[in-house]
């Protein structure tokens, strides 16, 4: 476990992990947005990689991916972007969120070496379930990377226990079925699921998928150790797209006040 993860894990805050798409709307914007998120109190950052076929994502993140693709962003560049983030002073753990096919084409080994050298802390592969992840899991641990696992309310009890036990970095608990995206309601019985996850996990248990308001976020405090916000933030970035390209300072200011409006008052 590296230093950045140590800080993350030992934080007593209700941990905030935002997701943004690399290259959306351009590389420099991604850098400044990342730094702004850290300033606003993010405990870790998930950095998405644009992909032609993001089957775990809803429309908001799909569109962000299209913008990233239009910037020729790819997995290799995303990893290298993390180097730049480090150079610019980002201290929180960064998790690369990538579909498996992108990893395969870059080469798993090449990716891992590059990631390790670029200051990446973890990888999350939404279409690589535990059953298929043996090799990558082993290689990640050799390269000091956390392979972050997703668990879902539909994950069977036994498997949930096992995934929770073996979780690295944090355990990503899906708040509701379906793809990423903003939701107005959550699943009944979610608390039991989170409780079961927490019971076995050695790492913080974060809840994600669909959270978009302070109220929604606060309701999981207590049952989880933190939360992930993706689509809501990405949607804000979409709204700010032209300013982020041409009037970035102003846009970042607006972005930060949006993030502040989102965060639970007690999380800072």
């Amino acid at each position: 476990m590296n230093k950045r993860w140590e800080v993350f894990q030992h934080s007593s805050d209700y941990r905030f992990t935002p997701y943004i798409m690399a290259g959306d709307p351009c590389e420099e914007a991604t850098i400044e947005l990342s730094l702004a998120l850290e300033e606003c109190g993010a405990h870790a950052l998930e950095l998405g990689v644009p992909y032609s076929d993001p089957l775990a994502d809803g429309p908001v993140i799909q569109r962000a991916g299209m913008r990233g693709l239009a910037q020729n962003m790819n997995l290799e560049k995303t990893v290298k972007l993390v180097s730049k983030l480090r150079e610019r002073g980002l201290k929180i753990p960064v998790i690369i969120f990538t579909y498996y096919n992108l990893l395969l084409q870059l080469g798993e080994n090449r990716f891992l070496k590059l990631a390790e050298n670029s200051g990446v802390d973890g990888v999350l592969v939404p279409d690589l379930p535990y059953e298929e992840s043996g090799y990558l899991r082993k290689m990640c641990s050799e390269h000091n990377l956390a392979l972050v696992s997703l668990v879902s309310p539909t994950t069977r009890e036994e498997k949930l226990a096992r995934l929770s036990r073996e979780a690295e970095g944090f355990l990503y608990c899906i708040s509701s079925l379906g793809v990423t995206g903003i939701r107005s309601e959550f699943r009944a019985g979610l608390d039991d699921f989170l409780k079961a996850a927490k019971r076995n996990s050695r790492v913080p248990v974060l809840v994600g998928f669909g959270l978009s308001t302070r109220e929604q976020i606060q309701q999981f405090d207590g049952s989880s150790d933190g939360f992930i916000v993706g689509s809501a933030i990405v949607k804000k970035i979409e709204e700010l797209e032209s300013d982020l390209l041409t009037n970035r300072e102003e846009a970042i200011k607006t972005f930060k006040s949006y993030i502040e409006s989102l965060l639970p008052v007690y999380s800072r």
Partner: protein, 402 residues
């Protein structure tokens, strides 16, 4: 031959196959695998499936000798396995019936399906109507525009057709979207995949429900040819369901097998769907297989005049049969397919699907190089009624050029 051992318990055909899907639906794949394995060991289920194929879809489909075509072509005789005579006009219904019966057995009331040109969508909507299931069909916006008739048919059958506006708005995006919906509604929804693709156990299941093509062919051919086996068997390959169904009983026997992909404008151009000839290993729609992609792993849009071959991936078992060289995969251009379609039409009075025309085109080449007393069997996967519009447009375009 080594194929008897695939897929392994993890759903692998060599390196290919597997289950590359979000954790949310992993339990559904397990549930499906269990239900499927139980079903195919249940004689009652198998009998029901066979009965439905017979009294609903009209099986067995005949094996028609193409006398005039063979004669004018020279060389070996060509036999046509007439999947075009199935209810709804293609082999797709075999699988749709099988999966729908399984859905009913599993107590599911809703099915979802993806479709490109609409053939599998119509098959899915058909079985949904027949077995009283609700049905949503995901279809790219672009395809909805091009295939208004099939969209209307699905609606007539009571299905909901959902327009997919993501990505390139075609089949691969419709499949992504169907998977997304499945992830959201997995607890009560059966995803009825239309080809031998997708995460395990789909490739195995689709093969199981399509192998009736090959089994019938084998016994029909043996009956005509005093117990002999064909000298070659040819089928077109999009996702690979008609081909794997046709090949199934022959894989372990000494019969040369040919899978024919769409070369579109030519495999040397960017306009083709020749996954095995030009693709590389990758993951698409839940399965590790060969696919058409950029060096960075972005999946590219394939092209073929035939909507059913226009898929950037291929079933994992085909990737395996290609790698082990058990099956020879070749590619046939739009032009060759069109020419073959016309020859078949003029000589045998059979208007086949553009997909199937690819297989016919290759059989003609193959037969020419074979002996007069040899026999090529080609899977006529579907009828060409659905393609008449495309053919007309092509003719008009062609005439303008002259």
């Amino acid at each position: 031959m080594t194929t008897a051992t695939v897929p392994d318990h993890r759903g692998r055909y060599g390196v290919f196959g597997g289950k590359y899907v979000p954790e949310t639906i992993m339990f559904a794949l397990e549930e499906l695998e269990t239900a499927f394995n139980e079903a195919i060991q249940d004689q009652e289920f198998n009998e029901l499936f066979q009965k439905e194929l017979a009294i609903y879809s009209g099986r067995p489909t005949p094996l028609t000798k193409a006398d005039r075509l063979s004669e004018s072509n020279g060389g070996a005789s060509i036999y046509l396995k007439r999947e075009d005579l199935n209810h709804t006009g293609a082999h797709k219904i075999n699988n749709a019936i099988g999966q729908a019966l399984l859905a009913v057995r599993m107590g599911k009331k809703k099915i979802i399906a993806e479709t490109g040109a609409g053939q599998h969508g119509v098959a899915a909507a058909t079985v949904a109507a027949k077995y009283g299931l609700s049905c949503k069909v995901y279809m790219g916006k672009e395809d909805i525009r091009r295939q208004a008739l099939n969209v209307f048919r699905m609606k007539l059958l009571g299905a909901e057709v959902i327009e997919v506006t993501s990505g390139s708005q075609t089949l691969k995006d419709a499949t992504n979207e169907a998977i997304r919906e499945w992830v959201a509604a997995v607890e009560d929804t059966f995803y009825l995949i239309g080809s031998a693709v997708g995460p395990y156990p789909y490739p195995k299941m689709v093969k199981q429900f399509q192998q009736v093509i090959g089994h019938e062919t084998e016994s029909q051919f043996k009956e005509i040819q005093q117990g002999k086996l064909p000298d070659a068997v040819v089928a077109c390959v999009g996702g690979g369901s008609n081909a794997i169904g046709m090949f199934a009983p022959f894989i372990e026997k000494d019969v040369p097998l040919y899978g024919i992909e769409a070369a579109g404008m030519g495999v040397e151009t960017a306009q083709h769907a020749a996954t095995l000839s030009k693709g590389s290993n990758g993951v698409i729609h839940g399965s590790l297989t060969k696919l058409l992609q950029t060096s960075e792993g972005q999946i590219t849009e394939p092209y073929s005049i035939s909507a059913g071959l226009d898929y950037p991936g291929i079933g994992p078992e085909h990737a395996y049969l290609h790698e082990t060289k058990r099956v020879t995969y070749e590619a046939v251009t739009d032009e060759e397919a069109l020419h073959a379609l016309k020859l078949l039409c003029e000589n045998e009075g059979i208007l086949c699907a553009l997909e199937s025309a690819h297989a016919v085109a290759y059989s003609l080449k193959l037969a020419k190089e074979m002996q007069k007393d040899q026999h090529v069997v080609v899977c006529l996967s579907g009828r060409g009624d659905k393609d008449v519009h495309t053919l007309m447009e092509f003719e008009e375009g062609g005439n303008e050029d002259e």
